[in-house]
Symmetry: C2
Subunit: 321 residues, 2 copies
């Protein structure tokens, strides 16, 4: 990660990581300090939450969600975790073990929800039943169940582990298509509304490489593999394109995301308002929706009626045969 | 350019070019028809000009400017050309020859302006004198002199050869930095204002590969080399990043640009208005400016006072030593 003989910017001890974006190298201790400072800055600047708020962290067992859970405790916030069993074969089995181990070792509370046992479907089956890319039903299911768990448990805010690379890639995809509604809502904090909890992303000032390094220096075991169903999705192509530019001009990715929030998001305020208007309640579950029945209840109806499909039989690019 | 045995979508004759974005292959005749149709569509849809308008084409001697001049005549428009001698060593010498040959062979009128003999500087010297990247003083000089030539000659509109790849790359750069003012003004037509002529880009629906193929099938000789001073500029990195995505998903580049114009440009109308307000006249040349003296006159003052610098001595990345 760093050339031999490099020294920490802060203490001149041997450096363990080079961060070209910050034009600096750091030892393990001062790298952690930088991470804590970046996360505290995001929480304070965007008013994500304050001590005493009841916080629920969406935990997948990957580096980002375990890093954010760890960092919140480091910064003195109490937070419980929520793990959703998505039923993606061995990948889900393993990710659940990492999440449970992390919580057990630290005496933290982990709430678990299983799509298959509680809602009668899993993601491979949903992908096949809906004939859409798996990421579509997966995202829809997670958003709905994060909201529901937060409301059921009386949490003020849902925390997700989205990092700078995630947000920059999503922003790039939305800008490539100029999806005004999606752009308007791509913020590090989405305010509570219509009975939904606030949603916040405290890691948006840390890159993917930095959250991985955080886990390594902190001794956190996490599931390294990417989700097998995400293979070939466009998101990964957008990350690669941004990484190529970042390598030429370190800091481009951060300024792309942060300048969007600062300069462009205010211009989109009217579009954001319009996208939040005219929402009713789902006749089946009561969640906010612009239709009669919300998209999650429609997914449950479709996917739970389908015979279970093992992940190995689902094509990666689409849910179709 | 195309696999052996491929056939033209229109007439089934052997194809000479494959256009994945249009999901089709074409023979030379029907490829030209497609180009004429795309350019006519751009001119009509964005109301660029109409028969009878006095048109001035900015001609560099490269493929795009010669293609657009040729296409306008094909479509029945009269247009004169304007060539600016930038003084970039052999590159400028050669580009001038291509522009003059094109005009002579077709009996077209080419107006010529020389930076060195009329304004006392050239681009390599301007880059050194201003200590900025050469593209900066080059763009400023060209914009000013296009406007001036159009006003002096009584032209209604200035045509430039910007193609889809150019516009998409500039758009990407402006979006990476969220330069709201630049984004607001990135349109295929800039209306006349403050005594400036209308400016239009009829090739925005054709890719770089398509304008090159147009020149080849039409037998137009053009300067193939890129400007030696543009080497290493960020624009080329943005083109490469977009090309990587286009290869995976043909049509992405066109939808990126065209959706911007359709969906995002209206959202930026207020910012556009603000950027056009409060403009006065340059005390030296009378051109619109927000300061006392316009940027072009300031450049002329700085660059013409500097001893001439040959292009070979100017670093490509900056004008500094």
């Amino acid at each position: 990660m760093v050339a031999t003989g490099s020294k920490c910017r802060t203490c001149k001890a041997p450096a363990i990581i080079d961060l070209p974006r910050h034009n600096a190298k750091f030892c393990a201790e001062h790298f952690q300090e930088l991470c804590r400072r970046q996360v505290a800055k995001a929480i304070d600047h965007w008013k994500m939450f304050q001590p005493g708020d009841k916080i629920l962290v969406a935990v997948s067992g990957g580096k980002d969600s375990l890093a954010v859970w760890d960092l919140l405790h480091e910064l003195g916030y109490d937070a419980d975790g929520l793990y959703i069993g998505l039923g993606i074969g061995d990948y889900s089995e393993e990710s659940g073990r990492y999440a449970r181990n992390f919580a057990d070792e630290r005496g933290l509370r982990l709430i678990e929800v299983s799509l298959r046992s509680e809602y009668g479907y899993d993601i491979p089956t949903a992908a096949r039943a809906t004939r859409r890319v798996p990421c579509s039903s997966c995202g829809l299911s997670k958003r709905h169940l994060f909201d529901k768990a937060a409301l059921d448990g009386g949490y003020d805010v849902v925390v997700t582990g989205h990092n700078l690379d995630d947000e920059a890639a999503v922003l790039f995809g939305n800008a490539l298509r100029w999806e005004i509604d999606y752009l308007a809502r791509q913020l590090p904090v989405l305010a509570a509304r219509d009975g939904l909890p606030r949603k916040v992303k405290p890691l948006v000032r840390l890159s993917e490489r930095e959250t991985a390094a955080w886990c390594i220096v902190r001794g956190i075991d996490y599931l390294v593999e990417e989700c097998p169903m995400a293979e070939g999705n466009k998101h990964l192509g957008y990350k690669a394109a941004l990484n190529a530019i970042e390598n030429e001009s370190p800091g481009t990715k951060a300024s792309f995301y942060l300048n969007f929030i600062e300069r462009m998001a205010p211009v989109l305020a009217d579009a954001r308002q319009a996208s939040e208007d005219t929402v009713g309640a789902c006749s089946q579950c009561g969640a906010p929706t612009s239709g009669e029945v919300c998209a999650f209840c429609r997914l449950v109806d479709t996917a739970s009626a389908h015979a279970p499909v093992p992940v190995e039989l689902v094509s990666m690019r689409r849910g179709r045969r």
